[in-house]
């Protein structure tokens, strides 16, 4: 089943790959997962994003079957999985530390699941070699995992899970141990692979950039609960809560009191750094825009942009992203005027 059109997959909401209804996993007093509802659509690339200890990995383990919920209901492709052990579930996992079997060769690692299923040796070998080709790892069949680099091990782990054609592929921070360049290359490859195979990918990460760039939809976790589930653009531009605004992309959080003085509404708001522009001090503010004046406290060069931090008396700290192409950035200590449109002020849920 090859899908070339990812939006086509998104449209077929009739089939739910993974369903959580009020699922909780408590370890004594610790509520690792606390009343989570999830609907992961078949064929989508779903990211679970959150800081460590937010419950995202526990949710993944609940899907895999390594852990059982203390309350709630889980279905995988319409089948209740309460009490179903991991080895009977139609899902496979790529582990954070890869978990390759050190006493087996690369090919034996990849063929492990097939061997368990009783696939005969010839067929096993053929499928294993194909899977290794799929992850672009050729000529390594007889090596031991200890002889491979981190990136190669990651590919073996991926091939080992994919060779079984799981209905859902679970990935637990699989790129965390790779260096930046390799990580970016793998992000692209994973996305391509997911499109080509048409599988449901559930991806756990604490890296917001990774989640936003790869996923069709992102669930943001905090303290065992889901704060927001949306497509990446929505998560970034319209965060529902302060936590989402702060965790994803480091937005400016505007307190309700300040929002009231600006636009007369008593709600917290988020303001993206790149939506604020610097204008010359003393110039008139464009119509329908808001302006604050402040002193620059820090200027950091980020390649494509400068990150400028300023303190506005009475309004507090504000972070701006100024494109590097816009000329030299303001000096530290300079008095500047920053303006933004009313629409760029995104109102969030109170509390």
């Amino acid at each position: 089943m090859l899908h070339s059109d990812p939006s086509g997959l998104m449209a077929s909401t009739s089939s739910t790959a993974v369903l959580f209804r009020d699922v909780s996993r408590h370890f004594g007093a610790v509520r690792a997962v606390d009343g989570v509802d999830l609907d992961i659509v078949a064929g989508e690339f779903f990211a679970m994003l959150g800081p460590s200890g937010s419950g995202k990995t526990t949710c993944l383990r609940l899907i895999a079957g390594f852990d059982q919920p203390t309350a709630g209901h889980i279905e995988i492709f319409g089948e209740a999985v309460e009490g179903v052990p991991a080895y009977r579930r139609p899902v496979n996992t790529v582990f954070q530390d890869y978990a390759l079997f050190p006493h087996m060769t690369v090919l034996d690692n990849v063929c492990y699941g097939l061997m368990i299923r009783g696939v005969d040796k010839q067929e096993r070998r053929r499928l294993g070699v194909d899977a290794l080709k799929l992850v672009k790892l050729v000529g390594m069949d007889t090596r031991r995992p200890s002889e491979l680099s981190g990136g190669q091990r990651q590919r073996v782990a991926l091939a080992r899970a994919l060779v079984l054609r799981p209905k859902v592929l679970l990935l637990d921070e699989p790129l965390g141990a790779l260096d930046l360049k390799l990580r970016e290359a793998m992000q692209g490859e994973l996305k391509t692979l997911q499109h080509a195979l048409g599988l449901t990918f559930v991806f756990v990460t604490h890296d917001q950039g990774e989640a936003l760039s790869m996923a069709d939809r992102v669930a943001v976790f905090n303290h065992g609960r889901i704060e927001q589930v949306s497509d990446p653009k929505e998560i970034y531009e319209r965060p529902r809560t302060r936590f989402v605004a702060d965790f994803v992309g480091g937005s400016n959080l505007i307190e309700p009191a300040l929002v009231r003085t600006w636009i007369g509404l008593d709600r917290p708001a988020s303001l993206r750094p790149e939506k604020i522009a610097l204008i010359a001090p003393g110039t008139a503010c464009p119509a329908d825009a808001l302006a604050v004046e402040g002193r620059v406290t820090q200027v950091l060069f980020h390649g494509a942009a400068y990150r400028v931090e300023l303190i506005a008396p009475g309004e507090g700290r504000l972070v701006l992203s100024v494109p590097a192409s816009a000329g030299p950035p303001p000096k530290q200590g300079a008095l500047v005027r920053a303006a933004f449109s009313r629409e760029s002020l995104h109102l969030m849920e109170p509390g």
Partner: protein, 314 residues
Amino acid sequence: MTQAFVGAEAKDGFLRRLSDVLVARPAFLLLLLLTPPLLWLGVIYLGALFALLAQSMFSVDEFSGAVVYQPTLKTYAELLAPANLDIIVRTLLVSAVVTALAAMVGFPIAYYAARYARGKVKALFYLAVMMPLWSSYLVKVYAWKLLLAKEGAVGWFMQAAGLSRALDAWLAAPLVGGPSLSVSYTGMVLTFLYLWTPFMVLPLQASLERVPSTLIEASDDLGAGPGQTFRHVIFPLAAPGLVAGSIFTFSLTLGDYIVPQIVGPSSLILGQAVYAQQGTAGNIPLAAAFCVAPILIMIVFLTVAKRMGALDAL
């Protein structure tokens, strides 16, 4: 220029300069550290061992009983005489049975300790496994002789449990049986098993502890049930520990000469034969030849273990 080094010069004592020399020449430092233990191991231990083995190349004059210092293979021919070969085969069998039983008893204990026991329970486990090693070896062996005697605790327990018939049937069986447990091979094996089990449990536990739990989860995830995971992942990874434990139990049984003297039938075990040959019989060359047997057996054992891939996960 010199100004910058004033501070460093002020601290230059003899020890500091010695450290500088040693840090600059790591090979010399290594030599310095390794010489004493190598001298001990090389000259005193291996030297003595080879001196002993060299004795096996001599023979004993049949009339005078004096050692003839002429290189000959006569003593080895004597070693392969049926009576002596019997001793070797018997010892091999006893050692193999003790090792197999120790592995069977030790594995579940080690597995529990490595995978499930935490905190206090784990401390208790170490205590329980190690405690038998704290009391005197002789006391333990004599205690087993009494436990296994005809009127001993084991017999009493079997009677109380209504199993005295089973015990009698077992004792009536050839080879494993005898007049009572304390003079049977069963008793000897049980005593050895008790003595050497800690030496099997500890290395097994160490190797099981090193199996990451994600490997077990990965196997689980790839569709393997608990039995298959055990066979394909846990057991192969624990094999080096099993081999290490087996080396202990096997070689300890091969060399022991006190247990078979106190518990078990009157026929000799290898250790007893060495003891008898170098003591009462005064046949040092034959005693030395007997000593070669366990060394050869261990070499064969390790070679087979390596061939079977048991050391792959080392």
